[in-house]
């Protein structure tokens, strides 16, 4: 953007701020800022943002401590703005310059008073000291350096529950050995590579790596370094990278808070292949052969890889259904198959309505969707009708589709579980259940015919990642909105007054996997439901009733006389507003919509009707980490 153009737009923002029209001011900032903009523009936007009251923008608070070995003042300002774009007001505390170890190891350091949600250990390759004279010493030297970094994690995590974001080492553009560094075991370049691998291999749950090495390469190593500002004021990398780095970090943070996108809705003609299947026919579409044919194949491969890591794929196309399915069934170069697609929508209805239906079928929010369509008119229509759906601009050339989507970092994740890899299959099985339900005489007959079994168990090393993931990603069926990291969950499970359980569900159609987690707290004669999350995939199958019965049993065993649950409303959890009432609880408090519910337990409190048979996991006893 030209300086004069930027000045004009900034003047408008200032006018809105003067009128205290905070929301419009933020919207204008959103329109004029881009992660790619240079530092001068980033700094101005960050400065204007800092004048807006977070409460008026509806931002949720998040506390971040930054422990850095270089100057990060400007960077944190820019970071705050990009975090705000993700819906959070960041309060950032920066440790004094270059005091990482002192801050972490000193029990009385202000870090521990600040009590952050996240500690970002912002080191760079410059800080990584590895003493190895030759290749034989490399492994031991790297292990020793990694051990020093791990000691920081241990120190911080032994004093508080928080997630740690740890930078790995950005490898410098220059190496005294030049190209030969690549095959010299003791070269700086290879030692840092080893360090990065070892860091990634050993990072425990609760420690997330920030791949600074990857980012610096993405930005361009020669642009990444601006040594003038290192010598002058200890800025470790070029200011030109601040916007994009802050944006990427903010997206990661958003993923940590369960706000990543979950599903890609794709168009077909000229998106998954060249040409129009209805006009050009199976042999006429461009897929596999020719330059753009190969690009479409690669785009499909990328989509399949996304599906394999747990992103749901859906199709939304203006086509005859059978015609639209033909390439998936019969085209030799069509990488995607019908079983890769969770919901296949091909009709002549407008795309906004179809996308709403897709979200409904999958039981996920519109803000979990990314819509990919080559047609700018369709994109605009969906953007206008469904502002919560992310709609990336797509270039005309299919060779650039992947990059055009990837640059938005919609799908950052902070964990991978077995469920992720089979998610599409789970949604397809649900579609099958829906058919069965429609053909069954009544709902009871249908539920009995499913032959459902639920396995429940405690926190163990095997289930912990998925349990934490479910708590952190669930928005709709989440009564209190708590977020617990793996470390926190493990700690709670170890406390005598807490009961932490997972539930799985399988039936004759398939295995839905680990679909619910509860955290209960026994206090006196009452058992409190601290957290209850459940995957919306299993709604309407009497799972809630089954879990409620389990909770009542647990209350009896803990010699409690009542179960007390709370509902804290959020924009996304209206689904469970009436849950406790439905389960027979009595409302005992209502403070501005935050309701408290109580179920008294007598010796003959009856079980709720559920068509699910229980099964207690045996393996968890062996693997118990609590």
């Amino acid at each position: 953007m030209e300086a004069s153009e930027l000045r004009g737009k900034i003047a408008e923002v200032k006018g809105l701020i003067a009128n205290q029209d905070w929301i419009s001011a933020f919207a204008r900032l959103t329109a004029l800022s881009s992660p790619e903009n240079d530092f001068v523009s980033q700094a101005r936007v960050a400065r204007l943002y800092s004048g807006l009251p977070a409460a008026a923008l509806g931002l949720k608070s998040i506390r971040i401590a930054i422990l850095a070995s270089s100057t990060v003042d400007h960077f944190t300002d820019v970071l705050k703005y990009w975090i705000a774009r993700e819906g959070f007001a960041a309060e950032i505390w920066s440790a004094p310059f270059n005091t990482i170890e002192a801050t972490a190891f000193d029990q009385s350091s202000p870090l521990y008073d600040f009590a952050p949600d996240l500690v970002w250990i912002f080191t760079t390759g410059r800080d990584v000291r590895i003493e190895a004279d030759d290749e034989s010493q490399a492994t031991a030297a790297v292990t020793e350096t990694v051990r020093r970094t791990q000691a920081l994690w241990t120190a911080i995590r032994s004093r508080m529950d928080c997630t740690i974001l740890q930078n790995n080492a950005d490898i410098p553009a220059n190496d005294s050995l030049g190209n030969f560094a690549a095959q010299t075991g003791s070269s700086r370049r290879n030692l840092l590579r080893l360090y990065n691998l070892e860091l990634g291999r050993t990072a425990p749950a609760g420690v997330l790596l920030y791949d600074l090495e990857h980012f610096s390469a993405l930005h361009g190593k020669e642009r990444w370094a601006d040594t003038r500002y290192w010598y002058h004021s200890k800025h470790a990398f070029a200011h030109g990278a601040y916007g994009k780095l802050a944006f990427h970090a903010a997206r990661l943070l958003s993923a940590l808070k369960g706000r990543s996108r979950k599903c890609i809705v794709v168009d077909l003609d000229n998106t998954l292949w060249g040409g129009v299947i209805g006009d050009d026919g199976l042999a006429g579409i461009r897929l596999g052969n020719g330059a753009d044919g190969e690009a479409f194949v690669d785009f499909q491969r990328w989509l399949r890889a996304m599906k394999d890591r747990g992103v749901i794929l859906a199709v939304c196309s203006k086509n005859e259904r059978n015609t639209a399915m033909e390439p998936f069934r019969s085209h030799p170069d069509c990488v995607l198959k019908l079983e890769d697609i969770a919901v296949f929508t091909a009709n002549w209805t407008n795309k906004a309505d179809n996308i709403r239906d897709i979200a409904g079928t999958l039981n996920i929010g519109l803000d979990s969707l990314v819509f990919v369509d080559d047609n700018p008119v369709e994109r605009d229509f969906v953007r206008t009708q469904l502002p919560d759906v992310a709609v990336p601009d797509l270039p005309e050339d299919p060779a650039c589709y992947i990059e055009a989507i990837e640059r938005h970092r919609y799908f950052e994740t902070v964990s991978l579980s077995a469920e992720d890899r089979v998610r599409t299959q789970l949604y397809r099985e649900n579609a099958k259940r829906a058919e069965l339900r429609n053909s069954a005489g009544d709902i009871g007959e249908y539920l009995r015919s499913l032959d459902m079994v639920s396995e429940s168990g405690r926190v163990d090393a095997f289930h912990l990642p998925r349990m934490a993931q479910l708590i952190n990603k669930s928005n709709q069926f989440h009564l209190t909105g708590n977020r617990y990291s793996e470390a926190e969950l493990k700690r709670l499970a170890g406390l005598p007054e807490y009961i932490v359980r997972y539930f799985k569900l399988r039936d004759r159609i398939g295995d839905s996997g680990l679909i619910s987690v509860i955290v209960l707290l026994a206090r006196g004669s009452e058992l409190y439901v601290d957290t209850w999350v459940m995957s919306c995939r299993v709604l309407g199958r009497t799972m809630e009733e089954f879990i409620c019965n389990t909770v009542v049993d647990a209350a009896r065993q803990a010699k409690c006389r009542a179960v007390v649950g709370r509902y804290l409303p959020s924009p996304k959890n209206k689904l469970v507003t009436g849950l406790y009432q439905r389960l027979g609880f009595e409302k005992i408090a209502d403070v501005e919509g935050e309701t408290t519910w109580r179920l008294d337990i007598g010796p003959d409190t009856p079980d709720l009707v559920s068509h699910i048979r229980g099964e207690v996991a045996r393996a968890s006893e062996v693997l118990d980490v609590a």
């Binding site: 000045r7 001068v40 101005r44 003042d73 400007h74 500002y229 010598y231 002058h232 004021s233 200011h239």
Partner: protein, 82 residues
């Protein structure tokens, strides 16, 4: 040599942008003491904004020396004339 007054005019605009204050009028003897917010942190923002406006790349030593507006104008006139 680039006209000093035109350099001064452009530099004034940079100051107004960086400190978000359109009322700033720079003068040769002006230093960080004359603008509340001109500290070691905003100094870097100022230098980067100057580099962008004038299309110059200052060296590490120059970045530190630019603590007076007159010096800045002279340096910029010299560098942008090259």
């Amino acid at each position: 040599m680039t006209d000093l007054s035109s350099v001064k005019h452009r530099l004034n605009q940079v100051f107004c942008d960086v400190f978000e204050d359109d009322s700033i009028e720079i003068f040769d003897a002006m230093t960080a003491a004359d603008i509340d917010e001109w500290d070691s942190v905003t100094h870097i923002t100022l230098v980067l904004a100057v580099e962008k406006e004038f299309g110059v790349r200052l060296n590490a030593a120059e970045v530190g020396k630019l603590d007076n507006v007159g010096e800045m104008i002279k340096l910029l006139a010299r560098r942008s004339a090259k």
